[in-house]
């Protein structure tokens, strides 16, 4: 992946609600799909990569995500070319690297790949429309997630130990498989955790109420301290993914 040019969050249309905290932590930003994403934290690149392998957290909140819900949702998404299996609380990887998280039999939370182009999400949003036939065909309805959930990614070998401090679920690698979802309480907040490793590095998406992001970001980092964890940029995640 090519290095992205530096930029400032104020100069773009979209930025993370955490951008002040990210700036204080030394973030450098780059434009991804019209938004300002923290790509690195001023560290030596190798040092940041090591941190991501051991214990890191990245803010992906500017990257595209959406959802669809209701009777007929999964069938409609399948006609749009998505691969979605039978089981709930499992996330299914799409051909472009996106993940379709089946939160319930008729509910999908769709997160983009780390490229963040939003191609699949844009296409689905454009294709979705209720027909004029009566009774109306059940195809579900969109549940926009861009402004409902903050989106972090927790990475590294120590991630299961760190989660054990703030959450009641067992995230150890042999207990919580790639693609598995936990909808649970994290640091006293309701949230969604999805394991989608980056290469050989354990990695967990963390999605939780956007209005409390300012609390959750430092709360998780507080739990990471004993593992020498800290923020990592999108560049490091992309390099881990290979």
């Amino acid at each position: 992946m090519n290095a992205l040019p530096k930029t400032v969050p104020n100069g773009l249309q979209r930025r993370s609600f955490l951008y002040r905290q990210l700036q204080q932590a030394g973030a450098e930003f780059a434009e991804v799909n019209g938004g300002a994403v923290a790509i690195r934290y001023g560290n030596n690149e190798a040092v940041e990569l090591d941190r991501a392998k051991a214990m890191g957290i990245a803010d992906l909140s500017v990257l595209p995500r959406t959802g669809f819900k209701g009777t007929g949702t999964v069938e409609w998404l399948q006609t749009q070319g998505l691969t979605i299996g039978q089981e709930s609380n499992v996330a299914y990887r799409q051909s472009g690297g996106e993940w379709a998280a089946r939160l319930a039999p008729t509910e999908i939370f769709l997160v983009d790949s780390l490229a963040g182009s939003g191609q699949l999400i844009d296409r689905l949003n454009q294709s979705w429309a209720w027909g004029s036939e009566k009774p109306r065909k059940a195809i579900g309805y969109p549940t926009p997630r861009q402004d409902s959930h903050a989106w972090f990614m927790v990475t590294g070998q120590h991630a299961p130990d760190m989660f054990a401090k703030i959450c009641g679920i067992d995230f150890r690698l042999h207990k919580f498989a790639v693609g598995q979802i936990a909808q649970t309480s994290i640091a006293k907040m309701s949230g969604i955790i999805i394991r989608t490793d980056l290469g050989t590095t354990p990695a967990y998406h963390l999605l939780a109420d956007i209005a409390s992001a300012d609390y959750l970001w430092p709360a998780v980092q507080d739990a990471m301290k004993e593992f020498n964890g800290g923020p990592v940029g999108l560049n490091a995640l992309r390099r881990l993914e290979g």
Binding site: L103, A104, G168, Q183, S185, I192
Partner: protein, 99 residues
């Protein structure tokens, strides 16, 4: 920590759940008396023994049914509400009925 088994999410700490009251079957709104309707809406039986209750898994807003012994506080069984409520309820339009 006490553990409850959510039919959607599996075993979770009890702190992730909230209680939603007894499960009772709705009387027919067309023939029911006001007293019976009021009882259905507001009165709890407070049975000592195994009862059926609504519970919600808060992180997913998933409502389901639990059978719980109110004397020993043991959770006997949990299952999706669809096991009991498996038919759509049609409410006739009252105003049209009277015409």
């Amino acid at each position: 920590m006490k553990i409850m088994n959510c039919p959607l999410n599996g075993p979770r700490n009890i702190s992730e759940f909230v209680w939603g009251g007894e499960v009772s079957i709705m009387p027919d709104p067309k023939s029911v008396s006001d007293l019976e309707w009021g009882e259905y809406c507001f009165i709890e039986n407070n049975t000592a023994g195994v009862v059926r209750e609504w519970w919600c898994h808060v992180p997913t807003s998933y409502w389901f049914i639990a059978e719980r012994n109110t004397v020993t506080d043991e959770i006997v069984r949990t299952y999706p509400a669809g096991e009991i409520f498996n038919k759509r309820v049609e409410f006739a339009k009252q105003s049209e009925d009277k015409k």
